[in-house]
Structure formats: C-alpha cells, structure tokens
Amino acid sequence: MTDEGPEQQPAPPERGDVLVAEQEAGGQKTRDTIGDILRSDHPAVVTVLAVICAMIVGAILIIASDSATREAAGYFTAAPMDTISAAWDAVKDAYIALFQGAIYNPNAPQALSPISETLVYATPLILAGLSVTLAFRAGLFNIGAQGQILMSAALAGYIGFAWHLPAGIHIIVAIVGGIVGGAIWAAVAGLLKAKTGAHEVITTIMLNYIAVFFVNWLLTERWFQAPPYNQAQSRTVAGNAQFWHLMGSDLRVNFSFILAIAATVFVWWLLKYGTFGFRVRAVGANQDAARTAGMSVASTYIGVMIVVGALCGLAGVSQILGTANNYQVTASVDGGVGFTAITVALLGRGTAWGTFAAGLLFGALSAGSGQLQVATQTPPDLVQVLQALVVIFIAAPGLIRLIFRLRRSKSAGSAVLAKGWNG
C-alpha cells in the first residue's frame, strides 16, 4: 500500500487551495456543480455522448449507402451542393423515420402506435437487462438470459394453455410459473458456481443450448404442440392468462410494461436499501473482503442467481403472455432478447434506472427500424449498427474523453462491467 498512485493520495481537508476555497464558501461536503458534471466523464455524460457519436457515425453510413447521394457525388466537382444536400436529406429522412417509427407519427392512423411498439420491444429488454445488471453487480456474467427466458416462456405458456383457472388467478399463476422456470434455470448455474467453482459464463451458455433443444423437443410433443401438429408452435395461451392492454386493444402495449417498471424499482431498491443487495454488491466488488466480513459468498451466488433468473422469467412471461409472440411458444419465443440484454446492461452501467433507460432506447431503435425500411432507402440493419456503435463508444470511454476533452474523474470507468469476467 505504499504505492502512491494518484487514487490513493490522502486528501486531508486542509490541503489544496480548491478545497479550502470551497470550505470557506460554507459547504462541508464538496459537491460538483452541474457544469462540473457535464465537463467530467460522469457515466451519464459519457453514455449520452456515446449515443451522439454513434448517430454521427451512423449518419456517415446512411450517406454512404444512399444511392441519390452517390449519384450526386459522381459530379461533385461540378455541383458540390447537390451531394451535400442529398446527403443531408438522406440523414434527415432516416432519423425522422426512426423517430416516427419509435415515438410519434402524426401521419399514421394510430399516432401513438409507435410509442406502444417501443414499449413492447423495450419490456423484455428492460427485464432481461435488469437480470444481467444484477448479475454484474454480484461479479457474475449472466450469458444465460436466453435459456432462462425460454424455460420461463415454456412453463408459463404451458400453464397458460393447459390449465383452466378463473380470470385473475390464471394470469398470476402463469406469471409465477414463468418466474419459477427462469429462477430454477439460473439457479443451476449459481449452484454449480457456488459448490464447484464452475465458471458461470460456461455453464449459462451450455444451459442455453439445453433450453433451446428442450423447447424444440416440447414443440414436437402432442400435449404441447398446436393442432394440426404441422408447425413448431405451441397451443395458444388462454385469454384468462393474457396480459391486458394498456392503451386500447388496437395498441400492443400491455401490462408487462408495468411489471418492467416494478422490476426496475425493485432492483433499484435492492441495490440501494436491500440487505441482500448489500451482500451482492460486496461479493461483486471484493469477495475476499466480503468473506472476511463473514458473508457467505456461495449462498450469495445462489441467491442472486435465483433473483437474476426470476427477472429473466418475467422477460419470458412478457413475451409469452404479452402480445409479442401471439401467445404461442415457439423456438424463437426469446426473440434474441437474451443477448441484446447484455448490451442493454452494459449501456445501463450497472444501475437499475440506467438499464431501464437503455432498454427504452433499444426498444425505440427496434421499433423504429420498421419505419426506417418503409419510409427510406436506408437498410433497417442500420439500427443494429447503431446499437453496436453505441456499445463500442461506451466500452471505450477513453475515446469519448478524447473527442470531447472531458476531465477524467475518479469514479468513472466500467469497473463493474469488467468485473463480470473475473467472477
């Protein structure tokens, strides 16, 4: 500890003119002003700037892929303004289409339909993203969201179509079934980690395969498959077990979005006020110190994986009991959410509300990509490129610091996220 890096310097209040000045100004605690935060590499600042950078790079791609611009570029020296205005139009049209597809489209028959779609896409991303975020905080990397979602959807779907229960009861039982399905699947990885030290990255990936083929097998079984048994899809969940719509039956957004908000509040509360959350954070940040303080690392791993799986269970429930999948279990009922959730969690910076915001952003991009394709020449794949770019910029905060000349602060960095691999 005699290594005297800048981080470990003592900061007795009497040292340094800045501190003295602030104390004289009356404040006991030194608080950053808004201006300070905006010029620092505070995670929120970096995230917003990363999104902006991604949109700029995306704009270049839009221009490069736009045929009108390329045509105009052919006679660039003769009329350079043609190229520039064509490029501007292409970028403007594309981003307007994204906005209209994701938030509000005055020209559509249902002006609020885009926002409804955004929320539908965002719901499982938020739930599974929270799951990955919580695992990150425990120092675990949950690659297994896909498997957990599949198991949840299979169980909730089965309860939904096979059981016949009164309204109200049925949906609750189906939700609980989904939560249990996801929790058990994740708990297996937690148990293996706690008891044998098996790395959760490997076990959760393998559990994904098992879940995929288990669901494939289910879809060949007569008691599960929908008649006339020629398609790989399950029977349809009964009306009593379907989520009710929030904005009228024409718009797909449903009660599962309320569950996503509730789950966000829960994870936020757990990490801030929960005793178990304290243990999770301690184990995630320094398991040796946690063990020395008398915490059981093994039971924390098992416990957190149960909660992590339960959150993915809710994501599965939102898929199968919500509108996204026509209330039928298929081999792709997870909708690729499991992997996007990792990106969402990265973007969310290890916090519940950060993940919520990231899930909304990704949901909006997914919803907008449809309109992008309909209204412009831009390939909808642009959306995935944008998502990837955002993550690259986030993963390289040094790049953002360099571009925007931000001051480096002590708290910044993605330590929480890097930790996941070491778990």
Binding site: M1, T2, D3, E4, P6, E7, Q8, Q9, P10, A11, P12, P13, R15, G16, V18, L19, K29, T30, K272, Y273, G274, T275, F276, F278, R279, R281, A282, A285, N286, D288, A289, A290, R291, T292, A293, G294, M295, S296, R407, R408, K410, S411, A415
Partner: protein
C-alpha cells in the same frame, strides 16, 4: 554520476503529488528519501524512472538535461530501480531474469545463457550478492529475490540505484546484509536513493536525508538527527514514538489454541502444531518473517481457513468449526493484514465499509433492508472518533491513504464490544502519525479487558506493544520471549534458530 532533480512537479488533475522538488544525489552517496506514505516519494521516483512524465521540472544527469519516455531511457542513462513489489518472472531462472529486457544473444537470435550466468556470477562476487544463477526465482526466498532485482539493475550498469522500501520484506539479519551490500556499492561509486519510512534504517545507512511531506521537500537532515526530530519533520508535528502503556492485568483465557495444524490443499504444512493462549487484557504478539504461517493462524482463528486438526476456543467455547459470521458475532474483531484485499471494499463508501460485518444487525439493518440513516450517523461518529481524514463519509474507501484506510477498519472492528481482537500488521503502510494513533487504540482495547492477538513483522512494533511474544517460523511457534528480549534474540528465532541458540547468542 551526479543526479539532479530540479523543480520537479507532478500533478494528477487538481492534485499535486510533487511540488517543485529539488534533489541532488552526489556520486557514491546514499541519499535517503524519508516521508510518510502518500508524501509523494514513489511518485517522484516514478518520474525519475520514466514511468510518469513530470508536469514541470527537469532531470539532469552529469550536467546534461534528460527526457525519459520510459524506464528504458532511464536505464540507458544509468538509473536502476528495485521496486517494492518485485518485477521478476517466477518461472524463469535467476540468470534469465537478469538478462530479461536486455537479452544476450548468440547468432540466429539464440539466447546466450552462458554469458548471462557469467554476468550473474561476476556481479554476485563483486558485491557479495550470492545467488545461484540457475535456480528458478519462484524457489527463492524473498530476501534473495531482492538480490536478483539488484543484480538486474547492476547488469544494466546502473550508476544510480533506487531502492523503494527495500527492507519491508526482510528479516533483521537480511536487512543488515542489505546494508552491507549498499555500503559496498557505495564504495564502488554507485549512488543509492534509499526510500524508507523506517527511521532507524535511514539513520544507520544514509549519508544525507531529504524529508518529503505532502509533495514538498520540507527539509534536509543529517543521519545524526534523532528519530524524534526526523519523525517530527516527516509528520509536521512532534510524534510520540514509544508506546505508552501500563503493565498488563491479564484475566481469564479468552483464546485457546490447542495443537492447531493447517495444511494447504497442495499438502504444504502452513501451521504446524501451534498451541497458545491469550488472556483477557493482554497483548500476545506473534513475531516472525512474513510467510511463516501467521496469516493462516489468524485466518483459522476467525474461521476463514479450516484447520486440519486441533481446536480453537473462545471464552471457553469451542469455535473450531464455527462460521466466520458467527465468530465475529460472538465478539471477535478481526483486522486482516491486507486491508485493500480483505479488509475493505475499495469501491464502497467509508460508511458502507464501516458496517461491512454488521450491516444486517440492528440498528444498521435487518434481514430485508438497510437503515441508511443509522449507517450514515454511525459513519459520521466513527470518522470523528477515529480521526479519519476524508472529505465525506460517502467517499470511496479507495480514495483514502493507507493510514486512513486502516483507521476505517479499526473503527469498524473496535466499535462493538469485543472479547478478542485479532489484528495483523496493524501499521503496515500506515504513516508515522497514524501509527501512534493505531498503537494507542490497541493498548486502549487491551486495557478495556479485550484479549489481543497481534501479528506483526515489525520487530519494533512487537516489542513496543506486546505483553508476551511468540516467534513463528515455518508454521511453528518456535519460542516465546518477553518483549524485553534483545533484537538479536528475536532475530535468531525469526531466522529459525531455536530458543537455546538464541540464548547462547545473547
């Protein structure tokens, strides 16, 4: 070679680690750099070694201004550095380590092992640094590894050798030997920058002493200065170096260890048949060189390591198979030797670290939720009581200096009623000013009737604090001595000589 630093300033953001430091190292001189942890010694040396670029100021070697872009440049200019944490490759031999980074090659890029061996042998002989060039570094004891580091620097023709806290890992005998080596290097014209916070060693070896406090040179001193004068210069106020304590008033046996064995999964015997008793109101110190089973002994007591055989009892009740959580709950305070690794969570706030083992107990929380108000209130009180220097109790523990980090751990462990305090290396990396405080708190805890099991590799600390001392060597308590025994006697026991040998020597 004459080395001069002129007006070296190094800033990290708004923090100034080095503030216009001037330093002149004359040829063939041992120049001690004395300062508390966090004073900026290591930063200065990293600037000199090309690891940091100074914000302002220049480095002048033999009248020529230099610009170092990395350690390579510094080495070429004749500056060698022995880091506190050795930079050796454990799986390579001594000879391979010595040529690493500047490999001797034959035709076709083949390594010239023979030449490397010859270099090691020649330098070993010239400077009394006996090392077998063909042994793997991982098989060498720490003291010998340090010799390899010095050889490495000498093989690059270092004319100025920087030794960063070189004695932290050595036994008293090894320290004496290192000082002999330093003298012979000096006789040969090599200059040495000796970084330390140990007053005794600095006074014994240095030709001149520069004291640094808070990034500034606060004075030059002569080795003839008294320890009290040097300490006052380092800390900026008079410091009490001796621990003030009344004779112990031992009560009942609080900690009883019987025939304790700890064997590692690889079959290595770490704790070998240790039996000892610590009574209420006394300090039992375990002295010894790092790595002789002290860590495992303390970890077994608090349930972090499972003993292979033997029993441990607390206040008459067996705790051999009890969980750490329960042992701590029964009134055991534990200060681990490696604070940042085991004692604190760097990214957690001071307030959170202060409840790391009581977060789920009233008033700080229950099985479901935390009581943040109580946690904050507790933090404010503890920070005040233990004089933790911080801007806020919400600051991350990693932003504190070593001494203040230790105060946080002590504040946590000592702020509940204790029967037994197990404390390892209480002042490692802790500045002189805080050391005084830490020692006083340990004695105060003893006087309150707590049994204290102290593990320390610092002999001065053991002698100053302990009521009884057991010396641990190769997993065994090989002898018990009163704290009044001579350093010579302790030294022999620490080197593995038996008690009778030790008596003969005295």
């Amino acid at each position: 070679m004459k080395l001069e630093l002129r007006g070296i300033t190094k800033q990290f953001g708004s923090f100034t680690a080095n503030d216009h430091i001037d330093l002149v190292v004359e040829p063939g001189q041992i120049h001690a750099l004395l300062g508390e942890n966090g004073a900026g010694k290591s930063t200065l040396m990293n600037v000199l070694y090309g690891l940091y670029e100074p914000t302002a100021g220049e480095i002048i070697v033999d009248g020529e201004p230099q610009k170092f872009d990395g350690p390579g440049d510094a080495m070429r200019a004749g500056i060698g550095m022995v880091h506190q944490h050795f930079m050796l490759v454990p799986v390579l031999t001594v000879a391979e380590n010595v040529m690493l980074g500047d490999e001797y090659t034959k035709s076709a890029g083949m390594l010239d092992q023979r030449k490397a061996r010859e270099v090691v042998r020649r330098l070993s002989k010239d400077y009394h640094l006996e090392v077998n060039p063909d042994v793997l570094v991982e098989d060498l004891p720490v003291g010998i590894q340090q010799r390899v580091e010095i050889l490495k620097a000498l093989a690059r023709h270092a004319k100025v050798l920087i030794l960063d806290e070189p004695t932290a890992v050595l036994t008293p005998q090894e320290t004496d030997h290192l000082m002999d080596v330093m003298r012979s290097l000096k006789a040969d014209g090599t200059s040495i920058v000796f970084i330390s916070h140990k007053l005794r060693e600095v006074r014994a070896i240095a030709d001149t002493i520069t004291v640094i406090r808070r990034g500034k040179v606060v004075g030059q001193a002569d080795p003839s200065a008294t320890p009290a004068e040097l300490a006052a210069l380092m800390v900026g106020r008079p410091v009490q170096l001796q621990v003030d304590k009344a004779p112990a008033d031992p009560g009942d046996v609080m900690l009883g260890i019987e025939g304790l064995h700890v064997i590692s999964p690889t079959g290595q015997v770490l704790v070998d048949d240790v039996s000892l008793q610590v009574r209420a109101g006394e300090i039992y110190a375990v002295a010894g060189v790092q790595g002789n089973g002290q860590s495992e002994l303390t970890e077994a007591v608090v349930g972090l390591v499972e003993p292979t055989s033997g029993t441990i009892s607390l206040d008459g009740r067996d705790i051999t198979d009890t969980s750490t959580d329960e042992i701590l709950g029964r009134g055991v305070g534990y200060v681990p030797e490696d604070r940042m690794h085991d004692g604190l969570i760097g990214s957690f706030s001071i307030a959170e670290n202060l409840v790391l083992d009581t977060y789920d107990e009233a008033p700080f929380g229950n099985a479901v939720s935390l009581n943040l108000q109580e946690i904050t209130k507790n933090a404010t009180e503890r920070v005040e009581e233990f004089d933790v220097r911080t801007q806020s109790a919400e600051a991350a523990a990693s932003t504190l200096s070593g001494g203040n980090q230790q105060k946080v751990v002590l504040a946590r462990e000592m702020s509940r009623p204790l029967k037994l305090l197990v404390i390892s290396q209480p002042t490692r990396g802790v500045d002189v000013g805080s050391q005084e405080f830490v020692h006083k708190r340990i004695v105060a805890e003893r006087d309150r009737g707590t049994a204290v099991l102290l593990v320390s590799t610092e002999l001065d600390e053991v002698i100053g604090l302990a009521d009884r001392v057991g010396v641990m060597y190769a997993g065994k308590i090989i002898g018990e001595l009163p704290p009044t025994a001579s350093a010579e006697e302790f030294g022999l026991l620490m080197a593995g000589q038996t008690a009778t040998d030790a008596k003969e020597a005295s």
